[in-house]
């Protein structure tokens, strides 16, 4: 009987300060982490896009110089004088080329070269070049 009287009464419904702090800390950490993860994901997306753009640009320049070396390609054009083909550079990168013998001059042909790489989101990166071939035969 005396022991029950001396024992301090149990406290019900009182939170420990450490527990309250930990709860607030966890909530704030979750909130800030969601923002930081979004930031890092955005940075990753921008980095991937610019990396693909750089690779596409390099591929288009390489293909443009290859076409300029022989724009007529031994008369591989269609009836309209247009040569259209694709050059696969990598699994995710293909350069689409359209070569047109647009202007026939007195002593040569002026070819226009249009290159494009689809970016996978419905858009494309493009590059336009031209080459005059003196003495070259015009496309049919």
């Amino acid at each position: 009987m005396n022991e029950q009287i001396l024992r301090p009464p149990k406290k019900h419904g009182v939170f420990s300060p450490v527990l309250i702090e930990l709860t607030i800390v966890i909530l704030f950490f979750a909130l800030s982490t969601s923002i930081v993860v979004r930031l890092i994901a955005s940075a990753s997306a921008i980095s991937n896009e610019s990396g693909f753009h750089a690779r596409a640009l390099l591929a288009m320049e390489t293909v443009a110089e290859q076409i300029k070396a022989d724009p007529a390609a031994s008369g591989a054009a269609d009836e309209c004088g247009v040569r259209s083909f694709s050059v696969p550079v990598a699994d995710d990168l293909t350069v689409n080329c359209v070569v047109t013998g647009a202007e026939k001059h007195a002593q040569g042909v002026y070819y226009t070269i249009e290159l494009s790489v689809p970016d996978g989101d419905g858009g494309s990166y493009t590059l336009q070049a031209a080459k005059y071939v003196p003495g070259g035969e015009a496309m049919p």
Binding site: V18, Q107, P134
Partner: protein
């Protein structure tokens, strides 16, 4: 079993959280700035390549016109921008939109247009540093 009292009082977890969040934010912002910088560099490279190929296409057009002039028995300097540089030598310059110039020299001896020089250079005037910043010797 004896229980030792925790030495971490109220506020320790908050300090730890602040350090972790600041570190995460720092790395996130650095990654974002780096990605933006890379994207801007790629855009500048693309613009530079586009400027070069645009100037190259216009230069090829001028060469074609010079060839036409030669075929028609007309002097090449009748083509706009083509200037005589000596006997049988002509030159012209194509300015690109990014501050470069494509300087082309032609040799038209024999009635055939032959490119002797095709240089893509900066059009900005080079300004040297003053001599006072260099060691002139004893």
């Amino acid at each position: 079993m004896k229980q030792y009292p925790s030495r971490l009082g109220v506020g320790a977890s908050s300090i730890l959280l602040i350090i972790v969040v600041l570190t995460l934010t720092l790395f996130g912002v650095l990654a974002f700035i780096q990605a933006r910088s890379d994207a801007a560099l790629t855009d500048r490279t693309a613009l530079s390549a586009e400027a070069f190929y645009d100037a190259d296409a216009r230069a090829q057009q001028v060469v074609a016109l010079v060839d036409d002039a030669l075929a028609g028995g007309v002097l090449p300097d009748s083509v706009e921008g083509v200037l005589p540089q000596g006997e049988g030598a002509y030159a012209f310059s194509i300015v690109s939109f990014d501050g470069h110039a494509l300087n082309v020299s032609l040799d038209v001896a024999g009635g055939i247009c032959r490119i002797t020089s095709y240089r893509y250079e900066s059009a900005a005037e080079w300004v040297g540093e003053s001599e006072s910043t260099l060691w002139q010797g004893d």
